[in-house]
Every structure is written in structure tokens, then in C-alpha cells.
Subunit: 417 residues, 2 copies
């Protein structure tokens, strides 16, 4: 049961180096790193040089190595590595959300065929044990909704825009200086990182297989100081949320959008590089998890927990996929949104189901109305970099699913009388 | 691996009835209730009468029953039931925190000897999966602190005292009307329920065996409207917290006390019957979990998750007890406290290490000072029902343990250079 882990570490960046040093400091884990694969041998490394290799196959072909910890950026190379490792019956721990979002069904198949484990807690919300909790604890197919701040960089930027009244560009620069955003931050600020994570969450929450490009995802690049001022005036915080909400017995609505949140919403209080996830379950009702979503040691802690679980033969079981119950993604769902845009922008008003407010001034316009998710995905004006679309729903996402909670409780109460 | 569960349910109160009906509605779990033991056969029950028995041994002697779900109030009878069930190789799921706090080492021994599982997620913080996370996720002995609102009734009372400016007595009455407090609420409001839960958390966080009476625990009965006004004036919320903080390599400080918290503290925002737990880990830093701490369905959801885990042969491993590292409880630790008392009360000023503030008026007095935990436990004036002792430390508990975080990070950073 208590398996000895001999690790091949692939990638020695911020997290890779963190994992190396944490393992050095956690001898109780009984895990040793045998080899570390890197791409740039010329760089100075803070580990014995004998450990390093530029040849991936020194790890992949080494039969003594039973665990590959994959911590590189490139999703396609990572996929090849993980495929090979699983096929040669090595367990894999990865933090590569893009790779996982793009290839999850194949990877699950591979781990099953080869009877090995593929764990990736670090890929979603850094240190927050969300995957493990969805797998092991909230595993009775009673979940109704999940909403989360899943990207630390954008949350840091939004926090600074709010607290220090910085523009998006200034806040982004600050995030880069602090090491919370990549030099090429597009993945983060355009919502692509969030939608990758949402795809993984959809699998573990509802058993849904999907791909990132199939899901509406907006980032925060469109958010102007007008939008930020609107938020301040109304007492809102703007947060980028990844959502999946069960709207009927077999349909789920899912999207990544910025959202105005009142200060008493649990997610409104998740600041800076922190992440937070709000779950709604039929029985447990509201559950909230909060912790650091990025950074060397928080991410290392998730990798460490996966390694610790491997010692006991742990594997995800994807229980929600085996229930016989299948959910489809529905886009014919009304969202209440704030749409901000400059004077000369052609927002098509007829795309809205209803328009509640319209504001026009010399330098800004906004509309508050309801529109289907379908229209938000396909209308051309929604793609403009000058149009900001921010969800405006004062209820928590959970309350959208409340009818399910109420219904369930009612059924149960009825059964009781 | 996927074990069929045949359940004997003992107790059919609020939670027992909830579990029964939830299982009826969750056929996917493959768990059936064969028998339900009750004490009062004359009561009308919302389940087929053939299921009920008043003879416990119809369950304990039934070899087909492989799981006992124990949901009665009486801790000593519960202990006898659980002992017998484990000894006859039945798994046990229990929510009886008092019984567990008083008998944990014996019960662990019994489950090991008999190679069965004894699970009790519902005993601590209702629906929040805190035990499972401490066992399975935060299992690398890097935890530095845990602080939690672990009792829903007292938190409901404190919330109403704050929001509606009710007196303790009025708020208690409201809690009883809403079903959040027992008709005999002593266990809750005197902090006894909280300290029972703290004992269980100490085992799963630090591997410490202790007993409730060995740990300082105050409740909220002493809190007067003067104290509540002080909180409001200073912008604090009063919360009853159960704490365990690592203060050195081998020492932990632990106590249950009300505390003044600034509004930006995560635990200050846990209202009404909700519970919340804040963890500090060397690597992951701050982690926060929040959810309903009481009620029929939230508690049932925890029982359900334990049953679901049983199907896969899950058992707690008490990993923190097997590391070779042992912690002792230290009481020679300085706490900053507010002490409120009426004119004629003899608070011994010489028990304080330092006194920062002293306020005297016609109808109230208070002192703000530092005092050792040892003195708080043993001084006679601290036992008076007219003296309220409220911790006043503007930092989160985690920051007390921050030196450990900083130290760890420094060690790691040093290793990197």
C-alpha cells in the first residue's frame, strides 16, 4: 500500500524548483527525485548538476522511475510526455491545465488501460483541494452549481484596479512586476486559463466532456475605468468567474464572464492572487473553499498532496461520469448583463430579450439587459475588444440553482409527512 | 472494492430521519437500511414500521448488517454501541462528537484491531469536509494552525446579538425557536460542544491525544450588552473560536474563547448557523473552508459522504500520529484579552503580564491586557459567570504562526541560493 516513489521531474521553473526543494525538506514522504529534465542546460540551477538531463527519455525509459511530475508550459509537448509516461505504466502528476482541458478523455482512458494514476490538483486553483473534494467528498451527484475565481493573475489585477484605482494596463504591469502575471499574459487576462480550468471542473462536477473553445469565455481586457467606476458607485466588486450551473435534470449552463458582485458575496472577498470556489449541493447547500491560487509554494503544496496520495495508490475515479446520468451543455439560457461600449460601437439592441436600463453620455454608454448565452457567443458585437460584458446578477450563482435545492428539500420533506 | 452497504441505523431524530430519506433518494449509492433502532416505539415515524426495533441487538447481532450509523445523543450509550459494532467487525459512521472526543484513542485501536472503518465527518462542522481534508489533503505534517467557528448555535446567537442588538437571552430564545439550539443549550453556549470538536481536530491536525476538560474553553453566556457595544464601537464581530496553533517545533497551544475579529477576517463573515475553518499550512499558506455547520440535510450530507467512502474501503489513517513527531500542549503562552466585569467583581490584576487599558464607569469595567493561558485556566476569577473573557488580537491566528511560514520559506529560499 505504502509505495516508494521514484520521481522523474520534467521542468524546473518556478514550481518545478519549488517541488524539488519541498521534497528535499519532506523526507517523511519517502519520495526521491532521480532525474530532472530541462531544456536549457546552460542556466544556473540550484540542485546537484548530476540530476539534470536534457534528454526526456532518460526519464521516460527509466524503469526505476515510477512517477513523472510534469511541470512544463507547452501543452502539446506536455501531452506527448504524459501519454508516453502513462503508456509505460508510470504515474503522472501534472499542473498543466491547458493540456488537461484539451485531452482529458484520452488521458483518462490511458490511465485506466495502464492501471496507473494521473493526478492534477495543482492545475486548478493552486493550493485549494477542489478536485479532490469534488472526487471524494461531493461525490453523490447532488451538486447544483460551482462558481469560482480560478485565475490568480486576473484577480490580482482586478483587486488593484478596485483598491488603487489603477487602469487595466497599470494593474497588469504591477502584476507582472510582482510575478503574478506572465510576460505574455494573454492566457490569463483573456479568460483562456479560466476556461481551461472550467473544463476540468465540468468533468469532476458533472461528468461533462467538453473543450475550452466550446464555452463562452471573456477575460478582463475590455474592462474600462468607466466600468470600474460603475462598480464603485454601485458598491460592487468586479470578479472574473468560471461558472457551471445545473438548470434542469439533465442540463448545465457554463461560461466564464466578469461579474459585478455585492460585497457580501463570498467571492467578492477573494482578493489579490487568492482563488475561491463556491459550491452548491442539494444537501450541504453552500460550500466555500478559499486559498492561494498561484505561486511557487502553494502550487508545490498541491503537487506534494498528489504525491502523498500516490503512495497510497490513489487515483481519480471520475464517479460523476459513471452514474448513467449525462448532462448536456445548454446555451439557451438568459443572463442579465451590463454591456459597456464607446459611442461609435454598434451593439445590436435587438439581440437582447429585455433592456432594463440604457445610459448614454459623451464618452460612454451602457446597457443593462437580459440576453441568451447563445447570443453572447455568436453575435458579432460581443467579440469587439471595445465592448465589455459583465454579468449583473445580484444573487449568488447558487441561488439560480436554488430551485433545485428547494425542490429536493421539498421532495424530502414531503416524503417525511 | 465497491462494497454493498447494509446499514443498521441507530437513532431516528432530526439527522437520523434525514439520512433515511436521503438514502431512499440516492439509490446510486447501493446502500440499504435494514433496521432502525429507536427508544420510543410509541412515536409516529415516517418510515415503514417493519424497519423499527427497540432492541439494539437486532442490529448489533445481525451478521448481514455491515455498517452501523450511530446518531443518538447520549455519549456513553453511543460509546457502548460503537465499541460493540466495531468489535463485531461492522464499520461505523457516527456524528457523536462528545463520544468521540472522550474515547478516540480506544476507538482507533478497536477499528485497527478489527480491520474496519470508523468515520465521523458529521461530528465536526456539519457539511464542511474538514476531517477528510486534514486526513487526505493536508497530510504532510506542515500545518501550523487551525481556527474555526465550529458550533452553529452559538454563531447564530452571536450573529443575532450583533445584527439585531438582542441580548444573549433573547438571541438564545430565537435560536431555540428556529431549531438551532437544544432546549437544554448548555453544551453549545458554554463552549463544551466546541471543545469536543477541537479535541477531534487536534488529533487530525497535529496527532495530539487530549481530553476536553484539559483544554480551556469558555462559551458565550458571559457576554453582556456592554461587551457587544464595545465590539460595535470598535468595528469588531464577536465569534466563538476553537484554536490550535503550533508555536514551536514540538508545542501547540489550544483553547476555545470568544474573540473580537475585524470585519476583514475570513471568520468574521461566517454568519448565523454557518461554520468556517481557517487553516495555515507552511506551503499552501491560508486555506478557508465554509459551509453549514448544522441542520438535517447538511449533516446528512456528511453522513452520506462517509457512507460513499465506505464503499471504497476508506478508513482514516491518522497519518499525523505516525510521523514520529509528537506535539505537547503548552499553556505558558501569552494571550491578549479583553476582560469585562461588573463593579463588585474581584478580577486579580496581578495575574496579568501587562495591562494595556483599563476602563471604569458606573455600570461596567473592562481591562485589556496580556495574560498566560495557564492563568486563564487556573485563576478563580476567570471562572465567574459575571466575567467575560474575549480574545483581542487583531491578527489572524495564522499570523501568530506566520513565523513558521516565514521560516520555512526562508529555509527553502536559502536552499535555492
Amino acid at each position: 500500500m505504502n509505495q516508494q516513489l521514484t520521481i522523474g521531474l520534467i521542468g524546473f521553473g518556478v514550481v518545478g524548483e519549488g517541488v524539488y526543494h519541498v521534497l528535499q525538506n519532506t523526507p517523511s514522504l519517502g519520495a526521491t527525485i532521480k532525474k530532472i529534465a530541462i531544456r536549457h542546460p546552460e542556466k544556473k540551477r540550484n540542485a546537484p548538476s548530476a540530476l539534470f538531463t536534457t534528454d526526456l527519455f532518460e526519464i521516460l525509459n527509466d524503469e526505476e522511475i515510477n512517477v513523472v511530475v510534469e511541470l512544463i508550459d507547452d501543452a502539446e509537448i506536455a501531452f506527448q510526455i504524459v501519454q508516453t509516461a502513462l503508456s509505460t505504466k508510470k504515474h503522472v502528476v501534472s499542473a498543466n491545465k491547458k493540456m488537461i482541458a484539451l485531452h482529458l478523455p484520452e488521458l483518462i482512458e490511458l490511465q485506466r488501460t495502464n492501471k496507473v494514476s494521473f493526478l492534477y490538483e495543482a492545475a486548478v486553483c493552486g493550493s485549494i483541494p477542489i478536485i479532490r473534494n469534488l472526487e471524494e467528498y461531493f461525490d453523490n451527484d447532488l451538486l447544483n452549481a460551482i462558481s469560482g475565481i480560478v485565475n490568480g493573475s486576473t484577480n490580482f489585477i482586478l483587486t488593484k484596479m478596485d483598491e488603487q484605482k489603477l487602469s487595466f494596463e497599470e494593474a497588469l504591469k504591477l502584476a507582472q512586476e510582482k510575478g503574478f502575471a506572465e510576460s505574455n499574459p494573454a492566457l490569463d487576462v483573456e479568460g483562456k486559463d479560466a476556461v481551461n480550468k472550467l473544463c476540468i471542473l465540468l468533468k469532476h462536477t458533472f461528468g461533462i466532456n467538453t473543450l475550452p473553445y466550446e464555452i463562452l469565455h471573456k477575460g478582463i481586457t475590455q474592462i474600462t475605468s468607466n466600468d470600474a467606476n460603475y462598480a464603485t458607485e454601485k458598491g460592487y466588486k468586479i470578479k472574473l468567474l468560471a461558472n457551471a450551473i445545473r438548470i434542469s435534470e439533465d442540463e448545465v449552463v457554463s461560461y466564464v464572464l466578469p461579474r459585478f458582485l455585492k460585497d457580501d458575496h463570498p467571492l467578492a472577498r477573494v482578493h489579490n492572487e487568492y482563488n475561491g470556489v463556491l459550491l452548491s449541493s442539494s444537501l450541504a447547500d453552500e460550500q466555500f473553499l478559499y486559498g492561494k491560487g498561484a505561486g511557487r509554494y502553494p502550487t508545490s503544496s498541491a503537487v506534494l498532496s498528489d504525491l502523498s496520495a500516490l503512495r497510497y495508490g490513489y487515483a481519480y475515479e471520475y464517479k460523476k461520469s459513471g452514474t448513467g446520468k449525462t448532462y448536456t451543455l445548454n446555451t439557451d439560457f438568459l443572463l442579465k448583463v451590463y454591456v459597456g461600449f464607446p459611442e461609435d460601437e454598434a451593439v445590436n439592441l435587438s439581440d437582447f430579450e429585455t433592456i432594463h436600463e440604457r445610459y448614454i453620455s459623451n464618452n460612454e454608454q451602457y446597457i443593462i439587459g437580459t440576453i441568451t448565452l447563445e447570443k453572447l457567443i455568436h453575435a458579432t458585437w460581443t467579440q469587439s475588444p471595445d465592448v465589455s460584458i459583465i454579468e449583473l446578477n445580484e444573487e449568488t450563482d447558487l441561488r439560480k440553482a436554488d430551485f433545485l435545492y428547494e425542490e429536493k428539500i421539498e421532495q424530502l420533506e414531503e416524503a417525511l409527512t
